[in-house]
Symmetry: C2
Subunit: 255 residues, 2 copies
DNA sequence: CATGTTGATTTGTTGGACAATGGAACATTT
DNA sequence: AAATGTTCCATTGTCCAACAAATCAACATG
């Protein structure tokens, strides 16, 4: 083995001290992941945990804050903490912010969406039911209403795509696409603020949604995928038409 | 508007009390997202923060734990906290665990990977450089070594795919695929534990990697995508061959 | 120049305390 | 009887004061 990197010679790995609050967090997490604590179970009270761990309540609390943030525990109507399965909506905001901080570009987001959205539509076509069709129609109706009133349809567009993904019923897909989907909000805002697009943009967008819904209703996976793809391509073209740079970082959308 | 849902009539939204530690977290997060605190900047000390916020140090600490967990701040060689841009490797473990708890199936993971991995390979082919080729070759060499020695190549397989994704240099893609990629670890372990696959599985896997690397070296996006797709299909077929149920939940991989 | 020593700074942890909130059980009002 | 007020207890949110342990920098020592 020639040119073996010298780090192979490093005999010892970096050793970092583990604060007690992290151990608390890990211990509880382990109980959850191994199923000894299941979703819906209430956590012991802070004082009980402190006793069991032999630590001060403050220390335990810091561990709980971490667990809470990672979505493994949450409050269900009241103060008490309950174990829960983290929902994609818990994790998406952090991921979105991470992407913004990494100065992700429109092009990067678009590329991934180009991979995920059409296949999501195809999958949705195969398993959509009446109630879900109604949801999509309601979204469409609402969008036309807002559009006629000259109000923003951005939130409704993001919702439409999330609805399609939920109909596709793939938990990994939902988790993967949501952070990206959220970031189209500022991108669309920028797009529709441009005089070239403030009128035609929303109209074309609604038309595409119409086509997609129709394909889904007909359980036509091919058409659904096709129209979703066209919809995405159209989005990108609009961006270029306004001579926005695809490689600019996505702007931060404040709370 | 017929059949307006009665929740539209609810005059007031749910109002939930915001504990001070969350306000702390939000305040600091805002400073980061608006750029007043940039990556690499040190945070004020806990006592300073406590003074500025007019809160007790421990309350501030709970807020810091949340920020730390979400990856916006971290320790860089020492105790002091620094602002940083969250890396996908910070967020992936949480997401993976979320998927496990939601009882994600092999089929779901596979479907998303089937959308992401081939296009990642195609994109990687367009921009791979000499050093990156060397990394892939090193990974391949190492894999053959381990395979010959009868040791597990699973970690190296996961690493291979992450390498390809990093070469594709799409930050959104990296973030989206990593949690899923991590979950193939237990799936592969299960697969290679089966007598039908413990020999042929790793061999076919290494062969596919060989083809992919060659395509990448030739900057042939089409071939890279094609072989990656075949590689994924092969993976699934192996799973079916062992008569594993594609709809079984992925097992938890303990620390 | 590598290795102690010292001291100031900062984080990790503890203890005890109290206010505020939620929930349940019960009393009161209409 | 249904809605509203009262009481009490368990639990969480917050504070104050303090100490142990680790880090860093400067300096002293061999």
């Amino acid at each position: 083995m020639p040119a073996s990197p010298d780090r192979d010679c490093a005999m010892f790995q970096r050793i970092e001290p583990v604060p007690a609050y992290r151990t608390v967090c890990d211990a509880i997490e382990k109980q959850i992941m191994t199923g000894r604590l299941g979703a819906g179970d209430p956590l012991p009270t802070e004082t009980e945990l402190a006793e069991q761990f032999g630590l001060a309540r403050h220390t335990v609390r810091e561990g709980l804050r971490i667990l809470e943030e990672s979505g493994l525990v949450g409050r269900e109507a009241g103060r008490r903490l309950f174990v829960k399965a983290p929902h994609y909506s818990d994790l998406a905001p952090r991921a979105s912010r991470a992407l913004v901080m990494q100065r992700v570009t429109f092009e990067e987001l678009w590329e991934v969406s180009m991979s995920l959205e059409p296949s999501a539509a195809a999958r949705a076509a195969a398993r959509i039911d009446a109630e879900q069709i109604a949801q999509l129609e309601e979204n469409y109706r609402h969008m036309e209403e807002e559009r006629a009133a000259g109000r923003s349809i951005i939130a409704l567009d993001v919702e439409f795509h999330t609805l399609v993904a939920e109909i596709a019923a793939n938990k990994a897909l939902l988790l993967a696409r949501e952070p990206i989907s959220q970031l189209f909000y500022p991108a669309l805002a920028k797009l529709f603020a441009h005089p070239l697009n403030c009128e035609t943009g929303p109209r074309r967008l609604a038309q595409a949604h119409r086509r997609i819904i129709d394909a889904l209703k007909a359980h036509d996976a091919g058409q659904a995928e096709l129209w979703m793809r066209r919809h995405m391509v159209d989005f990108r073209r609009g961006y270029e038409l306004c001579s926005f740079n695809l490689k600019d970082a996505i702007a931060f959308e404040g709370a």
